[in-house]
């Protein structure tokens, strides 16, 4: 899975946002705020990755157990799917 490339990440004053551009700006009328973990997962999914690859990356980056990583990732992916942010290609 991979996040659509019609979103641009911006960091201002220690806050991180994702803003839709191009065709996405027509349908997605808002911005997304990312916390540190979400930003890490967002960056990982800028390229095509499986759920397992994402879990491995999370475990390498953060001092957490596998169950916590899976919970965080599934919750994040759920938000991406709900808001139609994943590239279907």
């Amino acid at each position: 899975m991979k996040i659509k490339d019609d979103f641009v990440k911006i960091r201002i004053a220690d806050e991180c946002f994702v803003v839709p551009v191009g065709e996405q700006a027509v349908d997605f009328y808002g911005i997304i705020t990312l916390n540190g973990t979400a930003e890490f997962m967002w960056d990982c999914l800028a390229e095509d990755k499986t759920r397992e690859e994402l879990i491995t990356a999370m475990l390498q980056e953060y001092d957490i157990d596998r169950a916590t990583a899976e919970t965080d990732i599934d919750e994040f992916i759920g938000v991406l799917i709900k808001n139609n942010l994943l590239d279907k290609g």
Binding site: I10, V21, G22, A25, I31
Partner: protein, 292 residues
């Protein structure tokens, strides 16, 4: 071909409706310059053949194709199959051609309306490439301090700046009533007048340091609050160039928002009605309060 200088951008322009645009552009004419930032040529013609090229995207009746010479072409196809207008441009908008069918059968727009609208859009896109922007709003200078009042169309931006003019007279200049330019010089942001000022001809060829951006929201009561970063970003991106057919422009607009924050340009939300008290609310907070 005439030459304009708008917000420091040199525009070589050939108009379709010369009578209308010679008046619109008169404050911006300058001597021909060797250095040209962009060229816009408008051709009003009897018939526009449907542009041929690789289809990049289509939203409703608007198509964007890549022509064989590498330029992009955005056009509309009417239900009857005719093409009322087509805009061809290179990747950085430095060279554009607007073709308009003379008896342009598109809603209630005349050929002149189309030309006015798209010369404005093309300028906005080119300016964005040159690290400036157009912020949809009505911009004033109170003495030498600039404020842009921004909001979706129909909210009452012009009404609000009209109240400022009514109250403060010559102390207030309306720089542009719809599409002021913003550019940075060193680390200071400036508002500039442009000839594209919406339904009115309220614009002048001048600039003022940008001291605040105020987003208007209609309300019974008048109240102002400074926006946090996330709300500022959200309000800004809705009123900056972010065309559906060019995500690079949207990315550059987002980078411009970051520069506004780095330049310490404060952003506010004004809940306001159409009374002079709305002006006093802004004055008390931004001018008397010391933000300017």
């Amino acid at each position: 071909m005439n030459t304009l200088k708008v917000a420091g951008i040199t525009v070589n322009i050939e108009s379709g409706d010369k009578a209308f645009f010679s008046k619109r552009y008169e404050k911006y004419y300058c001597e021909h310059d060797e250095k040209t930032d962009m060229t816009i040529k408008t051709i009003v013609t009897g018939h526009i053949p449907e542009p041929c090229g690789e289809c990049l995207l289509q939203i409703k009746r608007t198509c964007v194709v890549r022509l064989s010479d590498g330029r992009l072409c955005r056009y509309v196809k009417s239900p009857a199959g005719s093409v009322p207008f087509a805009i061809c441009f290179n990747e950085d908008y430095s060279d554009s051609v607007i073709e308009i069918a003379r008896d342009c059968p598109i809603e209630d727009l005349t050929a002149t309306d189309i030309e006015y609208m798209f010369t404005g859009f093309l300028f906005a896109n080119r300016l964005t490439y040159l690290k400036g922007t157009i912020l949809h709003g009505s911009a004033i200078a109170y003495h030498d301090k600039g404020i842009v009042f921004s909001a979706p169309s129909g909210t009452g931006k012009s009404t609000h700046t009209g109240l400022w003019k009514g109250k403060y007279g010559d102390d207030v200049t309306i720089i542009n009533d719809d599409k002021p330019a913003i550019r940075f010089e060193d680390d200071t942001a400036y508002i500039y007048g442009t000839p594209w000022s919406g339904k009115t001809a309220l614009n002048i060829n001048t600039r003022a340091a940008l001291s605040a951006i105020v987003f208007l929201e209609r309300s019974k009561e008048n109240r102002i609050e400074q926006l946090g970063v996330s709300e500022g970003v959200l309000h800004c991106i809705r009123q900056l160039p972010n065309p559906f057919y060019d995500k690079k422009i949207g990315s550059m607009s987002i980078d411009f928002i970051r520069r506004l924050y780095e330049g310490n340009v404060p952003m506010y939300r004004l809940y306001c009605n159409k009374s002079e008290e709305a002006v006093d609310t802004v004055y008390d907070e931004i001018i008397r309060g010391g933000a300017l």
